[in-house]
C-alpha cells in the first residue's frame, strides 16, 4: 500500500507541474488588437507578446505609418484641400505633362517597384491606369459604361514607361498631359509591409495584420504555431476554398466579387486591364502568397488580369511567389510550392 501511495503522489505531482507549467506559459502571452478605417477599408492589427505596453506602442506606430502612406497615396480627396495637398499622388497627377514633382522616399520606392513589375508582367500591371478608372467612375459617386472609342482614347495615356523617375532628386514626372496614377492596387500592400517593418523594429515577434483581406503575418502564432489563413470562396462569403499555413509572409487576394458595379444589368468588377480598358473574366479570385505584402498586392492584381494558366506559369517562374487561383469555371489552380502550405476544401 505504501508503495502505491508513493507512486500516486509522484504522478499527481508530475501532473500538477505539467498543468501549472502550461498555464503559466500560456498566461504570459497577451494579445493586443486594434482596428482603424484606412484606405477605404478596415485595417486590423493584432500583436502578441508578453509586454502589453510594448504591443500598444508598436501598434500605434504601425497605424501612424499606415496613415502616412494612405495620405501620400490618396487620389480622391479633391474635396478636402488639406488632405489633397498631403497626397503626393495628387501632386504628381496634377503636374502630368508639366513638370517633375518631389516626392516622399516611400512613394518613389513604390513607383520604382511598380515600374519594375510593369516590365516583368509585360504591361499587364500598370499603375498609370488612372484615366481609365476615372472614365468608368470607380472611386467616385457614379459609374458608367464607357464606349470603346472613349476607352481607346484614354488607353493612350496608359503606359508606365512614361513615368520618369529621378533617383538623385527623388522626383517623379508623368511625361504626358492628363496621365494619372492610381495606386489603389498597391498602396495597401505597401502600407501593410511598412507597418510590419515597424512592428519588427519594435521587437514584436508575433503579429497579424488584416487590411480588408490583405493578410500579413509576422512570426508564428503563439510563438510556435503556424497562422491559419483561410481563402474565401469567391462565390460564397461564408465558405472557404482553402486554408493556408503561413509564417512570416503575406497573402493577398484579388477577386471579381469585391467592389463590383452593375450597369444595365451586367456586373463589372473594378480590376481593369491596362491593355483593354475593361475588366477581365478569366479568374474569380487570385491569391498570391509571398513574404512581402506589396509584392503580393501587385502580383495578385497582375495575375488576376492574366489568363489562369498564364498566371500560374508566371507565378511558378518567379522565385518565392506562390499563387492560388479560382478560375472562371470555379476550378482551382495553384503553384507547386503551395502543396505543403494549403489544405484545399
Amino acid at each position: 500500500m505504501k508503495k502505491y501511495r508513493f507512486v500516486i503522489a509522484t504522478v499527481l505531482l508530475f501532473l500538477v507541474i505539467l498543468i501549472g507549467g502550461s498555464i503559466v506559459r500560456h498566461q504570459n502571452i497577451h494579445e493586443y488588437k486594434s482596428e482603424e478605417f484606412l484606405m477605404d477599408t478596415l485595417v486590423s492589427i493584432s500583436t502578441y507578446g508578453t509586454d502589453t505596453d510594448l504591443l500598444k506602442l508598436a501598434t500605434e506606430e504601425a497605424f501612424a505609418e499606415m496613415r502616412r502612406i494612405a495620405e501620400l497615396t490618396n487620389r480622391f480627396s479633391e474635396s478636402d484641400p488639406l488632405t489633397y495637398k498631403k497626397s503626393d499622388v495628387n501632386r504628381i497627377n496634377k503636374m502630368a505633362g508639366i513638370e517633375a514633382v518631389t516626392v516622399d522616399k516611400d512613394v518613389f520606392n513604390m513607383l520604382k517597384l511598380a515600374k519594375k513589375y510593369n516590365e516583368l508582367t509585360e504591361g499587364v500591371f500598370d499603375i498609370t491606369i488612372g484615366p481609365v478608372m476615372d472614365l468608368w467612375g470607380f472611386g467616385q459617386e457614379e459609374q458608367s459604361l464607357p464606349s470603346s472609342l472613349e476607352i481607346k482614347k484614354v488607353l493612350e495615356l496608359v503606359d508606365s514607361k512614361n513615368i520618369i523617375l529621378n533617383e538623385d532628386l527623388c522626383t517623379v514626372y508623368l511625361s504626358r498631359k492628363s496621365m494619372s496614377l492610381d495606386l489603389g492596387a498597391v498602396a495597401k500592400g505597401y502600407a501593410v509591409e511598412k507597418a510590419v517593418n515597424i512592428l519588427e523594429k519594435q521587437g514584436i515577434k508575433s503579429a497579424l495584420i488584416d487590411a480588408g483581406g490583405n493578410i500579413r503575418v509576422l512570426g508564428k502564432k503563439d510563438n510556435d504555431k503556424l497562422w491559419k489563413v483561410g481563402i474565401q470562396d469567391p462565390r460564397d462569403t461564408s465558405s472557404l476554398v482553402g486554408i493556408l499555413s503561413l509564417v512570416d509572409e503575406s497573402a493577398v487576394t484579388s477577386g471579381d466579387y469585391y467592389r463590383s458595379i452593375e450597369i444595365n444589368g451586367k456586373i463589372y468588377n473594378h480590376i481593369i486591364s491596362p491593355k483593354t480598358g475593361f475588366p477581365v473574366g478569366d479568374n474569380m479570385s487570385v491569391t498570391v502568397i509571398t513574404k512581402d505584402a506589396f509584392t503580393a498586392d501587385v502580383l495578385s492584381t497582375a495575375l488576376f488580369l492574366m489568363e489562369s494558366q498564364q498566371a500560374v506559369a508566371l507565378a511558378e517562374e518567379l522565385e518565392g511567389i506562390e499563387a492560388f487561383i479560382v478560375n472562371a469555371d470555379q476550378e482551382i489552380l495553384m503553384t507547386s510550392g503551395l502543396i505543403e502550405k494549403v489544405v484545399v476544401k
Binding site: 488584416d210 489563413v229 483561410g230 461564408s238 465558405s239 472557404l240 493556408l244 491569391t287
Partner: protein
Amino acid sequence: MTKADKRLLIIIFIVSFFAYALIQLYFNHALSEGQVIVKSRGEIVKYIHLQNDENVQRLEIEGKVGLLIIEIKDGMVRMVSSNCPEKICIKQGWIKNPGQSIVCVPNEVVVYIDNDNEELPDAITR
C-alpha cells in the same frame, strides 16, 4: 441493491447534475456574438458570424448522404431539413450558445457555436 450501488447512483447523479448545471450557466453567459461553424466530414465548410438581427438566413450544406439546410435567425441556428432517416438533428431545435451543437450522424455534419475561435482560421484573405 448494495451500499456501493447506492453510492454509485448518488455520485453519478450529483456529478452529472453539477456538470450539466455548470455547462448551462457558463455558456449562457457567453457572448451572443459567436460564430456558427459547420463541419461536414471533418472539414469546416461554413462559418457564419452570428448576429442578433432578425434576418433569416438559410444555408445549404452537403452531407455524406445528401443535402441539409440550416436556418439562422436572431443569433440562433437550427437544422430545418435533412434527408437522414431519423431527423434527430432537426428535432434538436435551436442552439445559440458556444458549446451547443447539432449533429447529424449519418451525414457526418456538425453545426456548432464556436466559443473561442478555436476552429476558425486566424484571418481570411479575400
